[in-house]
């Protein structure tokens, strides 16, 4: 084999091996939780650390939101609607999209009693948009199947 061909072969083998290693590592990573984000299940079963700033998320449990009579304090329950839920306490202005059933990302610390003391509450909205009339219609349809 002449030198040029051997060079090309080296490059091809190198590229192939490198790509394979990268893909393999990425596939392994996809199985890890690297969002530093804790779903309700991890909060409830004690996997999430206490007293450390973390991000937690879940849906706002309908009927759980209670605002303080004075001040901006608000308490609510975040749930995965699959049996795990935990209480959240937040003092501040909630985003417009905050409402029952909405997906929420909260940053804060879990205290010893299992309450999540949030210092930031962000609302995640989905990619579906519809006019109110259609949303009502969809709600009615799912209500009486």
């Amino acid at each position: 084999m002449n030198r040029v061909r051997r060079g090309r072969l080296t490059a091809a083998v190198f590229l192939l091996a490198g790509t394979a290693a990268t893909v393999a590592l990425v596939l392994v990573v996809l199985n890890e939780n690297i969002n530093a984000f804790h779903p309700p299940e991890r909060i409830v079963n004690g996997t999430a650390p206490v007293g450390v700033t973390i991000r937690a998320g879940g849906m706002v449990m309908p009927g759980s939101v209670s605002r303080d009579a004075e001040g901006l304090g608000v308490s609510f329950v975040l749930s995965d609607f699959q049996g795990s839920d935990f209480p959240v306490r937040f003092v501040g202005i909630l985003p417009d999209l905050f409402r029952e059933g909405q997906g929420i990302l909260a940053t804060g610390q879990l205290d010893a009693s299992g309450t999540f003391m949030a210092h930031e509450v962000l609302a995640k909205h989905d990619e579906n948009y519809m006019p109110p009339e259609i949303a009502d219609l969809a709600a009615h349809q799912s209500a009486d199947p």
């Binding site: 030198r3 490059a11 590229l15 490198g18 990268t22 990573v29 890890e32 690297i34």
Partner: protein, 222 residues
Amino acid sequence: MNIAVAQVRRDFLVAFHARADAVHPVAFFALTVVLFGLGMGPERHAMGALAPGMVWVLALLATMMATEGLFRRDFEDGTLEQLLLHGRPLFVAVLAKLFAHWCVTGLILTALSPLAGLMLQVPPEGLPVLAASLALGTPALTLIGAIAAALTVGLGRGGVLAAVIALPLFVPVLIFGAGASLSAASGASPAGELLMLGALLAAALTLAPFAVGLALRVSQEY
């Protein structure tokens, strides 16, 4: 693979004779760590949560400083032209050169990072992960930074320009590097972030040597 061995030996020799090139980035790193420690004042004890990120940013800047002039000496004395003309695979020579360079910069920064972490109040349990994340991250930074260094090598004072080009590309490495140290410092498992750093390093190792070769050819042509 003689070319790789020869290149590494030659670059170690050059590094030994031009020790200042290796000492300056390390001194920069140590001094900025001290400055941060002093600048924070009496609230130092509250730095724990921020410190891994700070050490990471400082190590990143030191790596950028070191990498920016990586090809300049070779460009000025004509060695680079020989490298491009010798007809053997350029990416092998580039990889060897970057390996030698990382040994005298990134590796030293990695070795110093637990000390820097201690000075900036990183929780002790976060220190091994801080060093591990830098061990995986600094070679990736060197590889990416080398692309910018190669693109700007012909310009008299390309330092700031190389940084403007390279720093955006550093972002993913910084996110997962600092993320790993922060996870460890807060008691969570850093495995995901470290694996992701490994994936970034593998990707940089695979692609960057070719991009550097291409950039060197563009820069050397005139």
